[in-house]
């Protein structure tokens, strides 16, 4: 055992030891960060663009909408193609975050899930086309979820009603928000809609 050799100047030695280690660690990390940070940032942006492009393939530019967090206008040659809205809702287990793409007249184009904690193989069936396609083309009035298929309504995925409802609600809220945003002066609509959502959610 080498305890005894260190005893005399241990206080200094310990401090020095740790400081040295921390210094080396700091330098290493700093260097790596210095090189990878820009790449990571590019990656992040690329990814986001990718998911937006998946939704609106023919758009050329995505312009952030001012005053709204993560809302975009998808434009092709300066012409408005679609709105992209970040929205989320509580699912079976935790939040489901997604991008909603809507036509300028507030009809659903599609949505893209960014993150979720639903049960794989069960809950996430509600993100697949079989369910998702039902929403396409609907406005917020048409978004009503039922369990047993019914004309003109959205049928929930069996066994994943909760997830289906979460998705539908998130889309609906985004659409209503969008409508409110676009018709800003009419403030009442928003409250009404919010009240409606609340009722729905209960």
């Amino acid at each position: 055992m080498t305890h005894t050799d260190h005893n005399n100047n241990s206080m200094l030695k310990i401090t020095l030891n740790l400081t040295m280690a921390a210094f080396l660690a700091g330098v290493t990390i700093a260097v790596v960060f210095y090189f990878t940070a820009p790449i990571a940032a590019i990656q992040r942006i690329k990814q986001k663009e990718q998911s937006m492009r998946d939704l609106v393939p023919n758009a050329t530019a995505f312009i952030p909408i001012e005053g709204q967090h993560e809302w975009f206008r998808a434009e092709k040659d300066g012409e408005l193609q679609a709105y992209l809205i970040l929205t989320h809702e509580k699912g079976f287990d935790g939040h489901i975050n997604m991008f909603l793409a809507a036509t300028p007249d507030q009809k659903v184009i599609g949505f893209k899930i960014l993150s979720h904690k639903e049960t794989p193989g069960l809950g996430d069936v509600a993100f697949k086309p079989k369910f998702a396609d039902q929403l396409t083309g609907k406005g917020h009035q048409g978004l009503e979820l039922v369990k047993i298929p019914e004309e003109g309504k959205i049928t929930a995925v069996t066994g994943a009603t909760i997830t289906s409802r979460a998705v539908t609600t998130a889309v609906k809220r985004a659409l209503i928000d969008l409508e409110t945003f676009l018709n800003k002066p009419k403030n009442e609509t928003k409250d009404e809609a919010a009240a409606e959502i609340k009722k729905e959610h209960k």
Binding site: F92, L122, K147, T158, G159, T161, I162
Partner: protein, 355 residues
């Protein structure tokens, strides 16, 4: 290595058996108890065949056969005595079947039986050693594996109008009209929708009691299950305190918190009679292997089960919570047994009189 019992060395013609005292025994045995519990479940099982037809019978037979086969195979493999004849595997299979939806796909009961017997029971050594209720582990296992199949219910063939004759005549048909269970309707559509689906409150209670309603195979006929349970109580195989504690807790708590309109507006009768509560309280919370040993402990167990059941029913993701509540309390059982035990004789000394 156990010494080989050789008979070659018998010298005296008559060898006396030596064992420790006592030398006499009453007539109860594990085998007898298990088969009697099976018997008391039989009426409810027969009712379910009438109510749901042949698919119900098939599910039951699959569960029982699966359990027996599993148990025998494992015991054979472990070179232990094969004890399927003691009825406990049959009972586990039967109880498992009774909490499955009728007419579920054929492989699901088999997987359930495997989970119940191979995973819950025999990884721990078999009868008497398991810590979780095998039937419920089986059910929870397939619930997590095939949630869709497990929440697809068949409609009662007897129906709201009590058409027994019609049900019996249709017994062999395989039609599977799906329907929701009362608690499912309650959870998703609310109380009023539930009452109107039965056509009235009294009708609802009646259906819940007699069992002409949708639900798991064996849980529907509350009255037959209660009768079976009373037989067990009379035979002293189970204690009345347990079902009373569990059902009572559910009743009180749902009455208090179950209503949307405020405190004490819930419908306790609905909650007490629906779902697997009756079968759970009489046949599963009383499974001696997985519950506390002392009466006091069992009452705590019952209350805990009731509490968790209500928690899940009212606030949880599932419409029904009996299965999970019993499993959770199974996990608490060793703790209960650790702290609740009889006060030993003479533990509270009365003051010794001295002159």
């Amino acid at each position: 290595m156990e010494p080989k019992e050789t008979t070659a060395n018998i010298q005296k013609p008559e060898k006396l058996v030596i064992t420790s005292s006592p030398h006499i025994h009453d007539t109860e045995s594990v085998t007898k108890i298990m088969w009697i519990v099976n018997l008391t479940l039989l009426p409810a099982a027969i009712f379910s065949v009438i109510n749901f037809g042949i698919p119900a019978l098939v599910t039951m037979l699959l569960c029982i056969a699966g359990s027996i086969a599993c148990e025998a195979a494992i015991q054979y493999w472990r070179k232990k005595e094969i004890t399927v004849s003691d009825g406990s595997a049959v009972l586990t299979g039967l109880l498992l079947a009774m909490c499955l939806p009728p007419g579920i796909a054929w492989f699901v009961p088999l997987i359930g039986a495997f989970a119940a017997i191979a995973i819950a029971k025999h990884t721990m050594g078999g009868l008497g050693y398991n810590v979780f209720n095998p039937a419920h582990i089986g059910r929870a296992f397939i619930m997590a594996s095939y949630p869709v199949a497990m929440t697809t219910w068949a409609v009662s063939r007897i129906g709201n109008n009590g058409d027994f004759a019609g049900a019996i005549s249709k017994i062999g048909t395989l039609d599977a009209v799906t329907a929701a269970t009362p608690l499912g309707i309650l959870k998703q559509q609310g109380y009023d929708a539930l009452v109107s689906s039965f056509g009235g409150q009294m009708e609802m209670y009646q259906a819940l009691l007699i069992g002409n309603r949708g639900g798991s195979l064996g849980e529907t006929s509350s009255i037959l299950l209660i009768l079976g349970g009373l037989v067990l109580i009379a035979k002293k195989y189970i204690k009345w305190q347990v079902p009373v504690a569990m059902i009572g807790t559910v009743g009180i708590l749902t009455w208090a918190f179950g209503g949307k309109a405020g405190l004490f507006t819930g419908d306790p009768i609905l909650h007490m009679l629906s779902g697997g509560l009756i079968i759970g309280a009489f046949f599963m919370a009383t499974d001696m292997v997985t519950t506390p040993m002392t009466t006091k402990g069992q009452i705590i167990f019952g209350i805990g089960c009731g509490l968790i059941t209500v928690l899940i029913r009212l606030y949880g993701g599932y419409p029904e919570g009996v299965c999970y509540s019993i499993l959770l309390m199974n996990a608490v059982t060793p703790l209960i047994d650790r702290y609740i035990f009889p006060v030993k004789f003479g533990a509270l000394p009365e003051p010794v009189k001295r002159s």
